[in-house]
């Protein structure tokens, strides 16, 4: 390919600059999404897989008890009071368990939040099924209001026997601005 037939040096340089631009974009456009896809597919690094849990024959494994710990954190600058109602539960694999998390918006204005979950140890992530979770949706909360946010989960019977404790942690993000923007564009496009 000869872009500048009369100037071979400029020709070489143009191609090389194109390589530089491609490699810089490669990081964002290929490496990051590819990494996330691979982690999801392989169920590694504590990302709970996005696939829906198909309930298998309910067989509660009474022979062992798993400790499930709950941690609630706020992201930087997030003012909500956010905590699990119980910090720990002992559950049987296969059983359906319910618990709630408490949240209170101490500010006078309405806010929208989003909770992001993480499971450790990472190996347990694919055996921890959330059938109902407040993290599936955005959580709007009026000024100075409180709410109880439900969580329903099942620990898979297939959980490796050496895992005795699972920790589920949530980080609460303030997405008020982002939610407002989305709402605004939705109205504008109507």
């Amino acid at each position: 390919m000869q872009l500048f037939a009369d100037n071979p040096i400029l020709n070489t340089v143009t191609k090389l600059v194109a390589v530089v631009v491609i490699m810089f974009s490669f990081v964002f456009v290929v490496m990051v999404p590819l990494y996330n896809v691979l982690c999801d597919a392989l169920g590694i690094n504590g990302k709970t897989s996005g696939e829906r849990y198909e309930a298998v024959q309910i067989q509660v494994d009474e022979s062992r008890e798993i400790t499930v710990q709950f941690i609630a954190m706020n992201n930087e600058g997030m003012p909500w009071e956010f905590a699990p109602s119980r910090t720990m539960m002992r559950v049987h694999p296969g059983a359906v368990n319910d618990t709630v998390f408490m949240a209170r918006n101490p500010l006078s204005r309405d806010m929208v939040a989003q909770a992001i979950p993480s499971v450790s140890p990472a190996r347990a992530a694919e055996y921890f099924h959330k059938t109902e979770c407040f993290c599936f949706n955005q959580q709007p909360l009026g000024g100075e209001q409180s709410t109880e946010m439900p969580l329903q989960f099942i620990v898979d019977q297939g959980l490796p026997r050496d895992i005795k404790t699972i920790t589920l942690s949530y980080t609460m993000f303030d997405i008020t601005e982002m939610a407002e923007e989305t709402a605004a564009t939705a109205v504008a496009s109507r």
């Binding site: 040096i9 070489t12 090389l16 490699m23 810089f24 990081v27």
Partner: protein, 520 residues
């Protein structure tokens, strides 16, 4: 060009507005030597603290800044620019070109370097200190828990990356377009070949490094969560992106060194280089393999077993082309009429010590045993054998080898040989014991250590002071040569030397090959 050959401009303008490849090469070389001394001084502080167990001289926070800055300065400020300087000086003279293809960009790619490093060094005087997260700046240490100065560090990395990219584009453009008539690719000297391939590596991976620090910048200031698990990102992603740059980077450092050694050994063995073609192909295969082995730096992050196996076998495969190279150097020396001038001594030192570093690299490549060696002093010993005894020794050899051609004066041979032997002994005294303490479990990047490592660490520190001070002798020898060395008049300074750079006058005139030579 025309008929009038003008000399260099006078005074500061000659350097500030330099477009001559020799002037720019000279500036690169001096700058990198200055950085070598700065990075070396940091190493001396590290070794002084580790002279005895317990906290002796400096605070742990400062120790962390020292290990970080030592690594950053040595990799990006000393070794890389020194080889770019050598490329600037030698590539046009080796391929019969009048100058680099893009002389003005060449000026810029040098002159943005000193500000980048001043910025980097200035972070140590800012609130919270300079970078203290290791030269690999893993997130979240370099994002969530970084000192506020990290933004300046990021900008510095952007600038020096830009400098490297411009330098590499210049080298590729020169090699592809400005070769003298008859200088086919397979006739190019190996130093040109290794740099040609290195330049491609740089063009491919420096943008990846820029991408990694850009993501850090966005995580810190613009609310993204590339590396923050709390926001759906993953700190392990940082390690993948970093080492996708980082592993080719180590070959960027060592390939030009291979080229230098392949020039010098035939000269003093008075034989042609054994297996020229296989050297070229081995260099190209190493460059290719460098892109598919990055995760061997991170066996312990929890990869799937298939990943560990793939990266382990791919890494061990690199030993094959590297083995070809070592074999060819030894075979070149075999039955040659060898003499042992300083450049040759450094090259033989290179071959022996680099091979040791290669073998410890193979040990580290084995995933199950790497779990034991990971982040220990064994790793420190390994990469100093390949970085110092590899890259720095060959760079030193290059300076002794071409210095008479550059300035038309001969260095003091006795002083050069003394420099070699002090370096050789000092280097091995520093780093050989680190294999032992590493295997016994001493972790790297920690300012204190368990009592049983005391003796070996004291040996290491003494060796480091010896090696460090031998560089002052080197500096003295170079300056003394330039100021008052014995003049050399032969074009061919070394009787066994081959190549176009030895056909021009000594010292090399300001403009060479204004008329391209005919290569047979």
């Amino acid at each position: 060009m025309g008929d009038h050959h003008h000399g260099p401009a006078k005074g500061l303008k000659r350097w500030l507005f330099a477009t001559n490849h020799k002037d720019i090469g000279t500036m690169y070389l001096w700058f990198s030597f200055a950085m070598f001394l700065v990075g070396g001084a940091f190493a001396m502080i590290i070794r002084a603290e580790l002279f005895q167990p317990g906290m002796q001289l400096i605070k742990p926070e400062f120790f962390n800044q020292m290990t970080t800055m030592h690594g950053l300065i040595m990799v990006f400020g000393a070794i890389m620019p020194s080889f770019v300087g050598l490329a600037n000086w030698m590539i046009p003279m080796m391929i019969g070109a009048p100058d680099m293809a893009l002389p003005r960009m060449n000026n810029w790619s040098f002159w943005i370097l000193p500000p980048a490093f001043l910025l980097l060094l200035s972070t140590m005087f800012m609130d919270g200190g300079g970078p203290a997260f290791g030269w690999t700046f893993y997130a979240p240490l370099s994002t969530t828990y970084a000192p506020p100065s990290v933004t300046f560090f990021i900008f510095g990395v952007h600038v020096l990356g830009l400098s490297s990219i411009m330098g590499s584009i210049n080298i590729v453009a020169t090699v592809m377009n400005l070769r003298a008539p008859g200088m086919t690719y397979m006739k190019m000297p190996l130093f040109v070949w290794t740099w040609f391939i290195t330049a491609y590596l740089l063009i491919a991976v420096m943008p990846v490094l820029a991408g990694a620090v850009t993501m850090m910048l966005m995580d810190i200031h613009f609310g993204t969560s590339f590396f923050s698990a709390a926001g759906g990102g993953d700190p392990v992603l940082f390690q993948h992106v970093f080492w996708f740059f980082g592993h080719p980077e180590v070959y960027i450092i060592i390939l030009p060194a291979f080229g230098v050694v392949s020039q010098i050994i035939p000269t003093f063995a008075r034989k042609r280089l054994f297996g020229y073609d296989s050297m070229v192909y081995a260099t190209a295969s190493i460059a290719f393999l460098s892109f598919i082995v990055w995760a061997h730096h991170m066996y312990t992050v929890g990869m799937p077993i298939a990943g560990e196996l793939f990266f382990m076998y791919a890494t061990m495969l690199i030993a094959v082309p590297t083995g070809v190279k070592v074999f060819n150097w030894i075979t070149t020396m075999w039955q040659g009429a060898m003499t042992f001038e300083t450049p040759m001594l450094f090259c033989i030192g290179f071959v022996v010590l680099f091979t040791i570093g290669g073998f410890t690299g193979l040990m580290l490549a084995i995933a199950p045993s790497d779990f034991q060696y990971h982040d220990s002093y064994f790793v420190v010993a390994h990469f100093h054998y390949v970085m110092v005894a590899g890259a720095v020794f060959s760079m030193t050899a290059a300076v002794y080898y071409w210095l008479p051609k550059w300035c038309g004066k001969m260095y003091n041979e006795a002083m050069g040989k003394t420099h070699f032997w002090i370096s050789f002994v000092g280097f091995n005294l520093t780093f050989f014991p680190q294999h032992f303490v590493g295997l016994a479990g001493m972790p790297r990047r920690i300012p204190d250590y368990a009592l049983q490592f005391a003796d070996f660490n004291m040996m290491s520190s003494i060796g480091a002071f010896i090696y460090g001070s031998s560089q002052i002798l080197f500096l003295y020898n170079v300056i003394a040569t330039i100021v008052a060395g014995k003049p050399v008049s032969e074009n061919k300074v070394w009787e066994g030397a081959e190549g176009l750079e030895w056909t021009v006058a000594t010292p090399a005139p300001y403009h060479t090959f204004a008329v391209p030579p005919q290569v047979r």
